[in-house]
């Protein structure tokens, strides 16, 4: 190719190249002229106009942050509100006009006991800002500090108190796991949030309802266009577009009931969830231990945060939403129902319980919790006394495929879809699941222990409450929901339509059998939760459970009382009431609580009794004043 390259070619090529360079140069000159024309237009033609904007009267656009929406409980009790926060600001220019900055700071330091670091920070800030700008000095003063400063204020020209807004949770401990909290916007959030909307906002929802409903709670930012003089001081407001407050949320939560539940858990780690059966309203959503969400609003100190993180009781862990526990015997009513629906058992049919269950030709014995057995046992007795052998046998007959299919309908192993982020789905095993995750085939032994809610099965307290509510609702699926309605400037803009039209096809006759057995658990002879039935003029249906896994790691330095406690089983209880016209379903899980009947059931009873007493005076609780 290059062999044919001649001098003539070189000259021709040179000529072409030169032509092209000339063309490009002309193009460049023309484009540059275009730039110059535009510059002339801006700087000569537009000079007057832009100079007015810039030199004499600058236009400053500043954001007006919206007021964050308030969160109430179902009865209008404030759960999250905006409170004034007092900050101290310093105008170095004014301070200097009347005295000495260093001396003023020294006096302030003495008056308010300010650490030296703050003073150093102040000087750093000052270097970065214009001489006439105000510099934030202290934030979130206590009332006492405000008062102390107010008295001495005439002696501090150029030092002023300014009021901003901060979030406050009046029932912090009770609502930390539901309402959540807001915190300072971090760098990562800054990138994903709309810049113009959050220009003047300091807080953003971090967890809970505060996070799920951030878009509604935040509101719409407004802005002002101000004329400012050459130094940037505001002279006049040209235009003001008001911000629009965020929407107020009314939760389905009943804070009084929440308090009852929270107090009932006193001394234990655990969770209580209560759902209103007819609506899916979540009345109680408690996880204990809890923490003070107010600590997070203005930045939690490292010490406080470490204390929360390192605590063996894991107070930041939302047990109601994310705690996954084996359901234990609380699964038995659902298993029994499955048996009836598939026609593999009949209500009056009995089997003999010798205290253990054995597969033919296999040595291994599956033990009943009652070593000497329950003897001849039908479905009602099996649920009332929580006979394991009956359900081992039932599970064997049903097989894992039918159990999985039936339990999935009640939402086991699935998220409930509650309006909170981070929900765990729990687990109800299947052949496919075991093959994928354990790389093993399904053994009959797996089915047997699945029948009593052990083995791989995991549920969250929320799931249990919802499954119980659905059962009490005769198969009409209850979808738990936390926000009841949204209001904007005092009129309701949206009422959540409660979904839940879907129904599990079940025979009412079979459900009646199960409910009768669950009533027997509380009110019948030998029922495992008998002690809660006293003094009420209505019936509670329930089922106790104990689960053999402990999740909370305990340190060796704990006292002996606690050490013993960690060996205990988890105590569970599911229940609903009144049986005649079910209103409320409650699920309780107490970590290392021991027996469901003695520990968990009374907690559920407290919630049910309080709720029904408030709901309708005809429901009496004679023990109330004890």
């Amino acid at each position: 190719m290059s062999g044919r390259y001649t001098i003539r070619d070189a000259i021709a090529e040179n000529r072409i190249f030169f032509n092209r360079v000339v063309i490009i140069f002309i193009l460049i000159i023309v484009s540059m002229t275009g730039l110059v024309v535009r510059l002339v237009y801006l700087q000569i033609e537009g000079f007057e106009y832009y100079a007015t904007l810039a030199t004499k009267n600058q236009i400053r656009i500043s954001s007006i942050p919206p007021m964050r929406g308030v969160i109430y409980d179902r009865n209008g009790v404030v759960l999250a509100e905006n409170r004034p926060a007092y900050n101290l600001k310093i105008f170095p220019e004014k301070v200097k006009k009347n005295g000495n900055l260093k001396e003023t700071l020294a006096r302030l330091q003495q008056l308010l006991a300010i650490p030296d670091k703050k003073i150093i920070d102040f000087y750093k800030q000052r270097k970065r800002r214009k001489y006439f700008e105000t510099i934030p000095f202290l934030s979130n003063l206590t009332e006492e500090e405000v008062a102390r400063f107010a008295v001495m204020r005439p002696f501090f020209p150029g030092v002023e108190i300014n009021v901003s807004s901060t979030r406050y949770y009046s029932h912090g401990l009770l609502t930390a796991h539901v309402v959540g909290y807001v915190g300072r916007i971090n760098k990562k959030e800054l990138k994903s949030l709309p810049f113009a909307e959050y220009r003047g906002t300091h807080f953003v929802g971090k967890v809970g309802v505060e996070k799920s409903y951030e878009a509604l709670l935040h509101g719409k930012a407004g802005y002002t266009e101000e004329e400012t003089n050459a130094q940037g001081r505001s002279v006049n407001t040209l235009r003001k577009v008001d911000s629009q407050s965020g929407a107020n949320l009314y939760l389905t939560l009943d804070i009084k009931l929440q308090e009852v539940a929270y107090n009932a858990l006193e001394g234990y780690n655990g969770a209580i969830v209560a759902i209103e059966i007819k609506t899916g309203d979540v009345l109680v959503f408690t996880s204990r231990p809890s923490f003070d969400p107010n600590l997070f609003v203005n930045g939690i100190s490292t010490k406080d945060y470490r204390a929360l993180q390192d605590s063996e009781d894991r107070p930041m862990f939302n047990r109601a939403l994310r705690g996954q526990y084996p359901p234990g015997s609380t699964i038995k009513p659902f298993m029994g129902l499955a048996g009836l629906e598939y026609g593999v058992i009949k209500p009056r049919e009995s089997i003999y319980c010798p205290g253990y269950y054995k597969l033919p030709n296999v040595k291994h014995r599956f033990r009943d919790w009652k070593r000497w057995g329950h003897g001849s046992t039908n479905l009602k007795k099996a649920i009332t006394q929580s006979c394991d052998v009956y359900f081992y046998s039932l599970a064997m007959t049903l097989g894992i495929d039918r159990m999985h299919s039936f339990m999935s309908k009640f939402g086991f192993g699935q998220k409930t879809g509650i309006d909170l982020q981070g929900e765990k789905s729990g687990l109800f095993p299947s052949r496919a699941w075991k093959k994928e995750h354990k790389k093993k085939v399904w053994y009959p032994g797996n089915s047997i222990i699945t029948g009593i809610g052990q083995g791989f099965t995991l549920t969250t307290p929320l799931q249990l409450a919802r499954a119980t509510a659905t059962l009490a609702n005769y198969g009409k699926i209850v979808n738990p929901f936390l926000v009841d309605r949204i209001t904007q400037s005092n009129h309701t803009i949206s009422v959540f339509t409660k979904p839940g039209k879907a129904s599990i096809p079940l025979k009412a006759k079979n459900i009646d059998e199960i409910i009768a057995a669950m009533v027997n658990v509380v009110h019948g002879q030998g029922g495992t939760a008998r002690r809660i039935s006293t003094g009420i003029n209505y019936q509670i249906a329930g089922k106790t459970g104990t689960a053999q896994v402990f999740t909370v790691k305990q340190n060796e330095t704990y006292n002996s009382h606690k050490l013993k406690k960690k060996l205990h089983d988890h105590a569970l209880f599911i229940s609903f009431a009144p049986v005649a016209d079910p209103q409320i379903a409650v699920a309780v899980i107490v970590e290392n609580g021991g027996h469901g009947g003695s520990v968990a059931a009374p907690m559920a009873a407290k919630v049910i009794k309080k709720f029904l007493a408030d709901y309708d005076p005809k429901f009496k609780d004679n023990n109330e004043n004890q």
Binding site: M1, S2, Y5, D9, E13, I16, F17, F18, R20, V21, I24, F25, I28, I29, S31, M32, G34, L35, V36, R38, L39, V40, L42, Q43, I44, G46, F47, Y49, Y50, A51, L53, A54, T55, Q58, I59, R60, I61, S63, K130, K191, F195, A196, R199, A221, Y223, E225, T228, A230, Q231, G232
Partner: protein, 376 residues
């Protein structure tokens, strides 16, 4: 003063000798030095008298000048030999960035090599014209469809890879550097018309499929910045106020209220021209444009004087890219082009672009100072 004249002249010629030995093109070196000094002056004001910014910029320019002189030392034959290799490495690094690149400012541009962070798209700005110059210098008189298609492929590969990051500004620069080589190589006007039509028909594809929402927003903002004064329109409104209020003679050094009062975002980087225009007015802007024109003129002279096709094409393309740089940045700051992240060459605060720019001037100097037969 007069008595010192001769000694000054002597020392100047001594420096000249040293620079010549270093393969440095003196006229180009002088205008570049002048613009960097200008950069220090305006940067000090734009950053609000920030010493740190100034010192960092001085260090960066020092490094970039070192690289420039280093590259000027290398014979252009070496560049030619390694063109394909460097281009290939650049493309691989771009792919690597897309796969493992670290997210910086919302876009994947950086490759973290552990000890330092590296932006391959900067390197590709030089290696793409090198590659095309190499390819077209082999086929310069037989530019048929096949060669043209291969050349287009060589341009589009890095362009699209960078657009995907997404970094519209750089991909535009890379594309124009490649197209410039084609143009200088003497493709017929008929082909130029066809390519222009192709590019024009590519615009809808770009708009609907390749551009991100924020990029579309920037283009729309150009036509109506007042529609969103708090958001997208903010930059351009503030920038126009800064420039317009500068008038003919400007407000004087350190007198820019727009930047000093923090109205103008990115006043040290992409929008530094607005600060310059505010402080030095139309007169200063004309001066700066003339300075740029001097650089471009000298570089085009170098291109015309170059001795072989490869050097000519490379020199021509690098010069044209430099102009595109200037035009796109100033065009965006004065509100006639959409906001794409392109700094003002030689003036804006920022390391990587400065290094590549001075690197390309190093190539130009190398081309000019390694001629086998001196022209005179």
């Amino acid at each position: 003063m007069k008595t010192n004249d001769s000694s000054q002249f002597e020392s100047a010629s001594l420096i000249g000798n040293i620079l010549r030995k270093l393969h440095v093109d003196i006229p180009l070196f002088l205008v570049l030095t002048l613009s960097c000094l200008l950069s220090f002056i305006i940067l000090y004001s734009a950053s609000g008298k920030n010493d740190d910014v100034l010192i960092r910029q001085i260090v960066r320019i020092g490094i970039a000048f070192g690289l420039m002189i280093g590259l000027a030392h290398i014979n252009p034959e070496q560049f030619k030999r390694y063109s394909t290799f460097l281009y290939g490495v650049g493309i691989l690094l771009l792919i690597a960035v897309l796969l493992v690149g670290e997210i910086g400012k919302g876009a994947q541009r950086w490759l973290d090599l552990g000890f330092f962070r590296f932006q391959p798209s900067e390197m590709i700005k030089i290696t793409t014209p090198m590659m095309l110059a190499w390819y077209l210098s082999k086929h310069h008189f037989e530019l048929k469809w096949k060669q043209l298609l291969i050349a287009m492929g060589l341009i589009l590969t890095p362009t699209l890879l960078i657009a995907k990051q997404p970094d519209l500004g750089t991909s535009l620069l890379v594309a124009s550097s490649g197209v410039a080589v084609l143009f200088f190589a003497g493709i017929s006007w008929r082909l130029i018309v066809i390519i222009a039509t192709l590019i024009a028909s590519f615009i809808p594809v770009l708009w609907f499929y390749l551009m991100h929402d924020y990029q579309r927003g920037r283009v729309l903002t150009l036509f109506n910045p007042e529609a969103d004064p708090m958001g997208r329109g903010y930059h351009i409104i503030q920038s126009k106020i800064a420039i317009g209020s500068g008038g003919i003679y400007g407000k004087g050094w350190m007198g820019s209220t727009q930047a000093q009062l923090n109205y103008l975002p990115e006043s040290s980087t992409d929008f530094i021209f607005a600060v310059f225009a505010e402080e030095f007015g139309l007169a200063g802007c004309l001066g700066l444009l003339i300075l740029y024109l001097l650089i471009i003129g000298r570089c085009l002279y170098i291109a015309v004087q170059a001795q072989n096709t490869y050097c000519r094409l490379l020199a021509g393309s690098l010069t044209f890219t430099f102009f595109v740089y200037v035009f796109v940045n100033i065009g965006m700051v004065i509100g006639i082009l959409p906001v794409v992240g392109v700094p003002l060459p030689l003036i804006s605060y920022g390391g990587t672009s400065m290094v590549t720019l001075l690197g390309s001037f190093g190539l130009l100097m190398s081309i000019h100072t390694h001629k086998k037969f001196l022209a005179h």
